[in-house]
C-alpha cells in the first residue's frame, strides 16, 4: 500500500514535530573500557582482543579510569550533574557480535544527568535538554558474507571482528525537544554539530561519523498543531552524517504525516536510514521489544567520583565552542546571523584555520560559505570533506589579493585544486591562469583595440571617458580574460591622453 506524501511545508503547517537524539560516541582512550587492549581503528580483524573483551569464561572487567574521566568531562561540558555514586548494569540480549551476550552499560544510575546545551539558528537560541550521559562498552562488528544485501538474511556465513568489542562508548540522550516547528531538522543537525564541536574541543573522541566513532539515533514524533498530546515516536538508526541527521528527521516527519493523513497509527519501531535514498525502512518493532533484564553489574564495584575529583576535572575544561564562537564573532566583527550561518554550515573550524593560514576573516568566510558551500551541496558532502585544505583556501585568497588572479580565475584554480591538480599556486601555473599585467604585452593588445575602433577612440580623446569600457572589453576578449581590467583601463586612458 502506498502512502501519499505531502510537501514538507504543508506537513509542518498541520503537525508539530517533537524530536529527540541519542548519540553514541566512541572515546579516544588508548585502551578499551574493561581491558588493556588497544582501541586503534583499522587493524587486522581480531588482533586487538584478550580473554576479557572476548568474554572468555572466567575473565573479569576492570573499568578504565580515563574513560570515566572523559565521561565526567562530557557531563560537565553539557552542564550535567555528576552522580556521586552510580553503578554499571548488565543489558542482557543475545547477539553474536556481543561476546558475553550482555553489554556492560548503565541503566537507572547514569554517571551524568540533567544537562543542557544551547544551539543557535538564525540568531535564535534553542535549548536542548540533556537527559543523561552514560558509559558503556561497544560490541564487535559482524560481516555477513554471501548475500546481496550485506544483512544477515540471505548470507552464506558471518564473520565477527571483536577489535571494536569493549571500546568505551558514551551515550548522550536528550530529553524530547518540542517547539521547533518547521525547523526541527535544522535544530537536530545544529545540536549534533554543536555536540560534535564540544566533544572535539574536549579531545575525548575523534568524532568521525563516517568511521562510526560518532553515531546518531533520531527519535521523531508528530502531534497535531492544535493538540498537546504527543504522538507515537519512532527511532531512526544508522544516521551517519550531519546532513543525514537533517534528512532523516525531515523524511520521517513527512512519512509520519502521510501515515496519519491516511487515518493509520504510527507504529513505535526502530527504522533504518539509508544514506543513498534518504529514506528509512522499518526495523524491529518496539512493541514486541526485547526485555533486557538489566541488573547491577556484580563484577564491578560502584563508581563514586568524589567532589574533589570532579572539580579537578572541571578545572581542566578547555574553551568550549560557545565561548569560542563569542570570541571569534567579536574578533571577526560578524553579526549573530552571520555567525550562526557559519557555525551551522560546519565552517567555523575551517574558517578559523584559513584565517590562521593568513587569509582575512572576510575572505575566508566568503570562500567557505560561498563557492565551497555551493560545491559541497552539489556533491552532497560536508564542507570538511571537500578536497581542499584551509591553507590552500588562504593561498587562493592571497593570489586574488595580490592581483595575480581575479575572482573568475580563482574559481577556475579552485576547480583544479578540487580535481587534485595540486595547490592553487601550482594549478595557476600549470593551467596558465595568471592575470596578464605585463604592460608591454598588453600595450600591443591595447594599440590593436584602438586601431580597430577609431570612432570610439576619438570619443574618449574628446573627453567621453565612459566610452573606454568598449575598448577594455575588446582587450579582455583578446586576452581571453587573463588581463587585469584595471590595468587595461589605465593603459587605454593613457594612450588617449585622458590619464
Amino acid at each position: 500500500m502506498t502512502l501519499t506524501m505531502s510537501a514538507y511545508d504543508d506537513v509542518v503547517a498541520r503537525y508539530a514535530p517533537v524530536i529527540g537524539l541519542e548519540t553514541h560516541v566512541e572515546l579516544g582512550t588508548v585502551s578499551k573500557m574493561f581491558c588493556g587492549c588497544s582501541t586503534r581503528f583499522g587493524s587486522e580483524p581480531n588482533t586487538q582482543v584478550c580473554p576479557v573483551c572476548l568474554g572468555l569464561p572466567g575473565a573479569l572487567p576492570v573499568a578504565n579510569a580515563r574513560a570515566i574521566e572523559a565521561t565526567i568531562l562530557i557531563g560537565l561540558a553539557l552542564n550535567c550533574s555528576i552522580a556521586s555514586w552510580c553503578r554499571f548494569a548488565r543489558k542482557n540480549y543475545f547477539y553474536p557480535d556481543m561476546p558475553k551476550n550482555f553489554q556492560i552499560s548503565q541503566y537507572d544510575e547514569p554517571l551524568c544527568t540533567d544537562g543542557w546545551v544551547d544551539v543557535l539558528l538564525d540568531g535564535v537560541a534553542y535549548r536542548i535538554e540533556i537527559e543523561r550521559v552514560h558509559l558503556e562498552e561497544d560490541t564487535g562488528k559482524s560481516l555477513h558474507v554471501g548475500g546481496s544485501t550485506g544483512r544477515i538474511h540471505g548470507s552464506m556465513h558471518s564473520l565477527v571482528d571483536f577489535n571494536r568489542a569493549g571500546i568505551p562508548l558514551v551515550e548522550i540522550v536528550t530529553k524530547p525537544v518540542p517547539g521547533t516547528g518547521a525547523l526541527a531538522p535544522e535544530v537536530a543537525r545544529a545540536y549534533v554539530t554543536e555536540l560534535r564541536g564540544i566533544l572535539r574541543s574536549l579531545g575525548v573522541s575523534d568524532v568521525r561519523m563516517e568511521e562510526g566513532s560518532m553515531r546518531c539515533d533520531v527519535n521523531t514524533s508528530l502531534s497535531r498543531v492544535d493538540s498537546d498530546a504527543w504522538g507515537t515516536r519512532t527511532e531512526t538508526k544508522n544516521v551517519n552524517s550531519l546532513r543525514s541527521v537533517e534528512r532523516a528527521v525531515r523524511s520521517e516527519i513527512v512519512r509520519q504525516a502521510a501515515v496519519l493523513d491516511a487515518g493509520q497509527r504510527v507504529i513505535q519501531e526502530t527504522r533504518h536510514f539509508h544514506e543513498n535514498s534518504g529514506e528509512s525502512t522499518a526495523g524491529r518493532s518496539k512493541e514486541e521489544a526485547t526485555d533486557y533484564r538489566y541488573f547491577p553489574e556484580p563484577d564491578l564495584v560502584p563508581l563514586a567520583p568524589d567532589t574533589e575529583w570532579v572539580e579537578r576535572l572541571r578545572a581542566t575544561l578547555p574553551e568550549l565552542p560557545s565561548a569560542r564562537r563569542c570570541r571569534l564573532q567579536a574578533t571577526w566583527g560578524l553579526s549573530d546571523a552571520e555567525m550562526d550561518a557559519l557555525t551551522n554550515a560546519g565552517a567555523l573550524d575551517l574558517i578559523e584555520a584559513t584565517v590562521a593560514a593568513g587569509a582575512s576573516a572576510e575572505d575566508a568566510r566568503k570562500w567557505w560559505l560561498g563557492d565551497l558551500s555551493r560545491r559541497a551541496n552539489e556533491s552532497g558532502v560536508e564542507l570538511e570533506e571537500l578536497a581542499v585544505t584551509p591553507a590552500q583556501v588562504a593561498q587562493l585568497a592571497g593570489l586574488v589579493t595580490t592581483g595575480r588572479v581575479n575572482d573568475k580565475l580563482a574559481r577556475q584554480a579552485l576547480s583544479g585544486v578540487l580535481a587534485g591538480e595540486g595547490s592553487p599556486e601550482e594549478v595557476v601555473t600549470a593551467r596558465g591562469l595568471e592575470v596578464v599585467s605585463d604592460t608591454g604585452e598588453l600595450g600591443t593588445a591595447v594599440d590593436e583595440a584602438i586601431a580597430a575602433a577609431p570612432d570610439i577612440a576619438a570619443k574618449v580623446r574628446g573627453g567621453k571617458v565612459a566610452a573606454a569600457g568598449a575598448l577594455v572589453g575588446a582587450v579582455m576578449r583578446a586576452t581571453r580574460g587573463q588581463a587585469d581590467a584595471q590595468v587595461v583601463r589605465e593603459l587605454i586612458l593613457a594612450r588617449l591622453d585622458q590619464a
Binding site: 580473554p51 572468555l56 569464561p57 572466567g58 572487567p61 543475545f94 533484564r293 563484577d299
Partner: protein, 498 residues
C-alpha cells in the same frame, strides 16, 4: 619409609625442603594413589601427570640450585575444574565446555604455579558449581571416600573426595552458597570460604559473581591457612578484589593450635538448628560447643532473625546472576556447537547447543533467573532478595557486636546417599541452609571436623566478620587440637581406608 600420601601439606613441604623426599617422588606417589583409587572415587575429571611431574622437577631443580622454596613448594594439589588453567581443559563440569582449552591462567592458578605447588589435575564438580553432591556433573558423580555409596558434597565434591582419599593433600574449591564448607564437612576436611574479595575471582568460570569465592580444602587447619596465603591477596584484574593484605591466617592457625581460647566470645546461632537437623549432627555440634567452653571461650546464644530467608534470597540472586553469566555459552566462539549443518540459522544452533550442553539443574536455574530479572518481576524478586541480603548483613553486624565468632553445624545432615536427593531440588538445596548466610553477607567462614555421627564426619562452621578470616582459623585450629585430644586421633583417621 612413611607413605607420602598420608602426610599433610606442611609436613610434605618440610620433607621436600629438607631433602627427605624429592618433589617428583611426592608427585609420583600421589599419581600412583590416583591410579589406584580414583576409579572408585572419580574425584578427577582429568589428571595431568606430565604437567605435574614437570612442575615437581622444576621445584627439585630450584632446590638443587640452592634457591629458597616457598612454604608449599612441591606439594601436590587438586584443582577444581571451575578454575581456568592455561593449556589444560577446563569444563566447569559441563558438556558445553567439553574440550575447551583456556588460553590463560586464572589468577589463583598462576599463584599456585608460582608457589611451586604441583597441580595434579582438575577435579569433578556439579555443573557450573550448581549443586551439593557432584551429581549434577555432566561427567558422573564423585564418591565419598568414607562411604562410596554416599556423596562427597558439592559443588567442590571432586576436590573434597580427592583430599579425603589421600589423592592430594591440597584441594582448591569454590564456594557460592557453601560449596567448599559443605563438602569439607561431609568428607572430614577443613574448608574455608574467604571474605568476599579476599581471593581473586579472575579466571573462575562464573556462577554467581557477587557470591563466588575460591578457597582451600585440606586435611588440617594449618594446611588450609598455608594455601590461603598463597592464593589470597589483592588482584588488579578483579575489580571486587580487596586492596588489603591477606589476614595473618597461618599465624592464627598456629596460635589456635595451642588450644587456648580464653576470653573468646562465641555466639551460637539459634536459627541454625532444630527441625531438619539430624540428631547425630546436633550431638556432635553440642560436643563442639562443650569443647570450646572447655578451651576458655564464653558461649552465648544469639538470634539472627533473617537467616531463615537466606535460602529463598539465595535462590533468586544466584540464578539471576547465572542466567546472565551463562549467556556467553552460545556456540559462537568456543565450546560445544550442535546442529550447525549449514542450513540451520544462528539462533537455532544456539538453542540446540544450549539444549544439549546444559544439564537439568543449570537449565532450571537459568530459567528461574531469567524470570526473576524480567521487567515487571525484578523488584518483587531480585530487588527483594537484595534487601534480604542487607538484612542478613545487619544480623551479622549486630551479632558481632557481642561475639567474636558465630558457630553452627556446617550442614544439617551427614553425607547423604547418592541418588537420594536428585529428584528433589528443595531437599538438595537444604544442604546449604547453614552456609548461605555468610555467602550472602560476604563474610568468612570455615568448616572444621568436630565429630562423627554413625561413623560419618560432622563439620563445625565458624563464622567471623569480613576481613577477620584469621579468627576462623584460630578457632578451627583450637577445635582440631581439642577433638584429636578428646578422640585420641584426628577425625579423618576414622575414615575407611581404600
Amino acid at each position: 619409609m612413611t607413605d607420602l600420601t598420608r602426610m599433610d601439606a606442611a609436613a610434605l613441604a618440610a620433607e621436600i625442603a629438607a631433602g627427605g623426599a624429592s618433589a617428583v617422588e611426592v608427585a609420583q606417589a600421589h599419581l600412583d594413589r590416583i591410579t589406584a583409587v580414583d576409579a572408585k572415587i572419580h574425584a578427577f575429571l582429568r589428571v595431568d601427570a606430565d604437567g605435574a611431574l614437570a612442575a615437581a622437577r622444576a621445584v627439585d631443580e630450584k632446590r638443587a640450585a640452592g634457591e629458597v622454596l616457598g612454604p608449599l613448594a612441591g606439594v601436590p594439589l587438586a584443582m577444581k575444574d571451575v578454575v581456568v588453567t592455561r593449556g589444560l581443559v577446563s569444563t566447569s563440569g559441563s558438556k558445553i565446555l567439553q574440550g575447551w582449552i583456556p588460553p590463560y591462567d586464572a589468577t589463583i592458578t598462576s599463584r599456585v604455579r608460582e608457589a611451586g605447588i604441583v597441580m595434579l589435575g582438575k577435579t569433578n564438580m556439579d555443573e557450573f558449581a550448581m549443586g551439593s553432591s557432584t551429581e549434577n556433573s555432566a561427567y558422573g558423580p564423585s564418591h565419598n571416600p568414607w562411604d562410596l555409596d554416599r556423596v562427597p558434597g558439592g559443588s567442590s565434591g571432586g576436590s573434597s573426595a580427592a583430599v579425603s582419599a589421600y589423592e592430594a593433600p591440597l584441594g582448591i574449591g569454590t564456594d557460592t552458597g557453601g560449596s567448599i564448607r559443605q563438602p569439607a564437612a561431609v568428607t572430614g576436611l577443613v574448608g574455608h570460604k574467604p571474605t568476599y574479595g579476599g581471593v581473586s575471582r579472575y579466571g573462575l568460570i562464573a556462577f554467581s559473581s557477587s557470591l563466588d569465592q575460591a578457597g582451600p580444602l585440606t586435611r588440617t587447619v594449618l594446611d588450609a591457612a598455608l594455601l590461603h596465603e598463597v592464593i589470597g591477596g589483592h588482584d588488579p584484574a578483579d575489580s571486587t578484589s580487596i586492596a588489603a593484605p591477606v589476614p595473618a591466617v597461618v599465624a592464627a592457625a598456629r596460635e589456635g593450635a595451642r588450644a587456648d581460647l580464653s576470653g573468646l566470645r562465641v555466639g551460637v546461632v539459634r536459627e541454625l538448628s532444630g527441625d531438619g537437623y539430624e540428631p547425630g549432627v546436633l550431638d556432635s555440634f553440642a560436643g563442639a560447643v562443650q569443647l570450646l567452653s572447655d578451651l576458655g571461650a564464653t558461649i552465648t546464644e544469639v538470634s539472627c532473625p533473617h537467616f531463615g530467608y537466606a535460602l529463598p534470597a539465595y535462590y533468586l540472586i544466584a540464578p539471576s546472576e547465572c542466567s546472565s553469566n551463562l549467556a556467553r555459552f552460545d556456540a559462537v566462539r568456543y565450546g560445544l556447537r550442535v546442529g550447525d549443518d549449514g542450513v540451520r540459522g544462528l539462533e537455532e544452533v544456539m538453542s540446540l547447543t544450549r539444549e544439549a550442553g546444559f544439564g537439568a539443574e543449570v537449565k532450571r536455574r537459568v530459567i528461574l533467573g531469567t524470570y526473576a530479572l524480567s521487567s515487571g518481576y525484578y523488584d518483587a524478586y531480585y530487588g527483594q532478595a537484595q534487601k534480604v541480603r542487607t538484612l542478613i548483613s545487619r544480623d551479622f553486624a549486630a551479632a558481632f557486636e557481642t561475639c567474636d565468632v558465630l558457630i553452627s553445624p556446617t550442614t544439617p545432615t551427614v553425607a547423604f546417599p547418592l541418588g537420594a536427593r536428585v529428584d528433589d531440588p528443595m531437599a538438595m538445596y537444604a544442604a546449604d541452609l547453614c552456609t548461605l548466610p555468610a555467602s550472602l553477607a560476604g563474610t568468612p567462614a570455615i568448616s572444621v571436623p568436630c565429630g562423627l555421627s554413625d561413623g560419618l564426619p560432622v563439620g563445625l562452621q565458624v563464622m567471623a566478620p569480613a576481613l577477620a578470616d584469621d579468627r576462623c582459623y584460630r578457632v578451627a585450629a583450637a577445635v582440631e587440637t581439642a577433638v584429636a585430644g578428646r578422640d585420641g586421633q584426628p577425625i579423618l583417621a576414622a575414615g575407611q581406608s581404600l
